[in-house]
């Protein structure tokens, strides 16, 4: 059957089982949007392309499926870039389509032309410019394959308008063939020899720590992780991206490590004799001063991406492979080990319990409305079952510290790029992917304003996300650094000119609730959840509250500031 490029595009998306896509049309996408009209794919019209990219990303993180977004050429494409870079840093499978000017005009400074593949080359896993209608189907198939396999990431397809209009034969059964790219063969199975070496190190260790990250969530390996910790009785710390990969109520859980990690996680790492890193990339937020990181520890590192291994920290036993696969193999061997070293491990656990008892994660509990309290209440009211997206800054750290994440894919945050404005659209994407879930965006007053326009998208599509603004009237995280390291010179961090967020909600046709007293928090939360549509909760919290513990820049991981003197 002869189909146009635009038709092949839509047919291919249907074959990829795309249920929903996010974006904004434009001149060079008219042929494609004409076919999308009436197609069995739900289209969410956003109010900014950045919103579309983050929604696709939030959808992908919540569901594990590939998120899809689309933008027109030139400004549409450049508006997508922050979203692509965000997904790229956090290894999120997204396929983005951009319209492009007609092939004979490419490179001519044509109207609304930007070199989209050039601009996005370093912020995508891969990208394509499709110049021939006969290549559309295979390119889309390849793009989805690349986005979701190996270390996932965003893939962009630039799609000139004349290619959308051209036509060719389209054969369905051909499309179903498996993708084979000779130069792209991710390794899923760990090398048995390396696995053996790892087991030997584990056998000998007395003060081991498992340090697990986003790779465990991506790999769907939370079960394997739990089993490994249980059989070995080795405590577990998670990165920001790993939240939910291990049950937080477990005795073995140490909380997050790193700059705003717990005192006990950081001390456990620094005093350990073995670190078992699983799907985590030794980011500078967690190593702190690199030359003083875990000085006594040997390191085993399981990661699907060889470039993550020995990048920052020299690794003793690298295992390249999928976390789930590798842990499964390891667990078989570990189960046979029995109770060796358990005595020593008990001693180590005792030491850790001591640290936990002496330096718990806490905040000042008085009559004031503190942001940490709001997060704790959200946890209580949602019974820990909600999906929590966050913005960036103090709100993000409090959302991590005071909500207990017991399930994977329930904590959605921009870790690597730290994109303010990410949380709200990501929450919309997550809610559309998981409509049965209560979804919160724990927000900062600064960040929320970076994609506030998506209120229209949420209202228009009846997406019931709850935005809990921890409104401190500051770019709080930056203000905190100014307070601690720049003599309280609050340069350009005051947001007292904020709009009235309740009125903003109402103007968009949503419910807004302002909360200034501790006693009102729970009722407001319950009210917000009981309402179908989006709700903005404006929590007027203590303005100069700080995030602690904290490891200052340049310090050792265990040089923890526990609070203000």
């Amino acid at each position: 059957m002869k189909l146009t490029g635009a038709q092949i595009f839509v047919e291919s998306l249907i074959k990829e089982k795309v249920e929903i896509m996010f974006g904004i049309p434009g001149g060079v996408l008219l042929p494609t949007f004409d076919v999308l009209y009436g197609a069995p794919i739900k289209f969410i019209l956003t109010r900014h392309e950045q919103g579309a990219a983050h929604m696709a990303d939030g959808y992908a993180r919540a569901t594990g499926k590939v998120g899809v977004c689309i933008a027109t050429s030139g400004p549409g494409a450049t508006n997508l870039t922050t979203g692509l870079a965000t997904a790229n840093m956090d290894s999120v499978p997204v396929v983005a389509f951009t319209g492009q000017v007609a092939t004979h005009l490419v490179g001519n400074d044509a109207f609304q032309e930007a070199d989209t593949t050039g601009v996005t080359r370093s912020i995508t896993k891969y990208n394509y410019l499709v110049k021939d209608v006969r290549e559309i189907a295979s390119t889309i198939k390849e793009a989805f394959h690349i986005a979701r396999t190996g270390r996932p990431g965003p893939v962009l397809i630039d799609f000139p308008v004349d290619v959308q209009r051209a036509s060719c034969e389209f054969v369905y059964h051909k499309y179903h063939k498996e993708v084979e790219i000779r130069s792209y063969k991710p390794k899923y199975k760990g090398h048995p020899q390396q696995i053996k070496k790892a087991i030997d190190l584990i056998k000998q260790s007395e003060r081991a720590v498992i340090y697990a990250g986003g790779g465990v969530i991506i790999s769907g390996a939370a079960g394997e992780l739990r089993e490994m910790a249980k059989t070995t009785q080795i405590p577990v710390t998670l990165t920001l991206m790993g939240m939910g990969a291990f049950p937080q109520d477990s005795e073995l859980f140490l909380g997050m490590l790193g700059m705003h990690g717990t005192y006990f996680a950081n001390h456990a790492i620094q005093n350990s004799d073995l670190i078992i890193a699983i799907g985590a990339r030794f980011d500078d937020r967690i190593t702190a001063r690199l030359d003083a990181f875990a000085p006594k520890a040997k390191i085993i590192h399981i990661d699907i991406d060889p470039t993550s291994i020995s990048k920052n920290v020299k690794v003793d036993v690298p295992i390249v492979g999928d976390a789930k696969n590798v842990m499964r193999e390891m667990n078989k061997l570990l189960n046979k080990l029995g109770s060796k070293n358990m005595e020593k491990r008990k001693k180590w656990q005792k030491q850790i319990s001591q640290w936990k008892k002496e330096n718990p994660l806490t905040y000042k509990k008085d009559g004031k409305l503190r942001p940490q309290y709001v997060v704790e209440k959200i946890y209580e009211v949602t019974k820990g079952k909600a999906i929590i997206a966050t913005e960036v800054g103090q709100n993000q750290m409090w959302a991590q510290q005071f909500y207990k994440y017991n399930y994977p894919r329930h904590f959605i945050t921009s870790g690597g790029l730290g994109t303010m404005g990410y949380g709200f659209p990501a929450a919309i994407g997550a809610k559309l992917g998981k409509p049965e879930k209560v979804v919160f965006d724990i927000a900062g007053d600064g960040s929320f304003q970076m994609n506030i326009q998506e209120m229209a998208t949420a209202v228009n599509n009846k997406v019931g996300v709850k935005i809990a603004i921890l409104n401190n009237g500051y770019l709080g995280m930056v203000r905190q650094w100014q307070q601690l390291f720049y003599k309280k010179r609050y340069s350009a961090t005051d947001l007292t000119a904020n709009p009235d967020f309740v009125k903003i909600a109402e103007a968009y046709g949503a419910l807004g609730i302002r909360v200034s007293e501790k006693g009102e928090v729970e009722g407001a939360l319950r009210k917000a959840i009981s309402v179908d549509g989006p709700v903005i909760l404006d929590f007027l919290v203590e303005r100069e509250e700080n995030v602690f513990p904290m490891v200052p820049a340049g310090a050792r991981l265990d040089e923890v500031i526990r609070g203000l003197a």
Binding site: R121, L129, R182, S183, Y184, P306
Partner: protein
């Protein structure tokens, strides 16, 4: 340390940009780059000469391997291999000096490929060392222009 990196890539647009940006993003200068088709028309070979910090280069090698269009990466350091570069040198060779220039060309087993009244163009193939030696010998006569193809390398055996 100097590295000779040989990269087998898909012969596609954008590949060169992907590779060169891996180096430039880390502040590495590519000293030499040669690209050409291989025995398979859809596969190209790039030979890249770089100097740089070993640890960063190790990371670059991994990143190269990770690029989706790259089929294979070899670092020839410590491996038996051949390197060749072709150079064209336009050198002053007026009446009085011409025979001296020709003598040098002869010793290096280079060739004169163009003759003008005041200059000649010398062509030579060789490794880096030999080319530098020739250039040094010709310098006193006044070199007007040098063009090199870039080094290509092949493993022995």
């Amino acid at each position: 340390m100097r590295h000779t990196i040989s990269v087998l890539v898909e012969n596609k647009p954008g590949v060169l940009a992907r590779i060169s940006s891996l180096f430039s993003a880390r502040g590495f200068n590519i000293d030499s780059l040669a690209v050409g088709e291989t025995e398979q028309h859809d596969v190209s070979r790039m030979t890249i000469i770089v100097k740089g910090d070993e640890k960063i280069l190790e990371q670059v090698m991994k990143q190269l391997n990770k690029l989706i269009d790259i089929i294979k990466v070899i670092d020839f350091v410590g491996q038996p291999h051949l390197e060749r570069d072709l150079v064209l040198i336009k050198v002053n060779a007026g009446k009085g000096k011409r025979s001296e220039v020709l003598e040098i060309v002869d010793i290096f087993r280079a060739k004169i490929v163009d003759v003008a009244s005041n200059s000649v163009i010398v062509e030579m193939t060789g490794d880096e060392e030999k080319i530098l030696a020739l250039v040094n010998m010709l310098k006193p006569y006044g070199i007007k222009e040098i063009v090199r193809t870039g080094i290509v390398a092949m493993g022995r055996g």
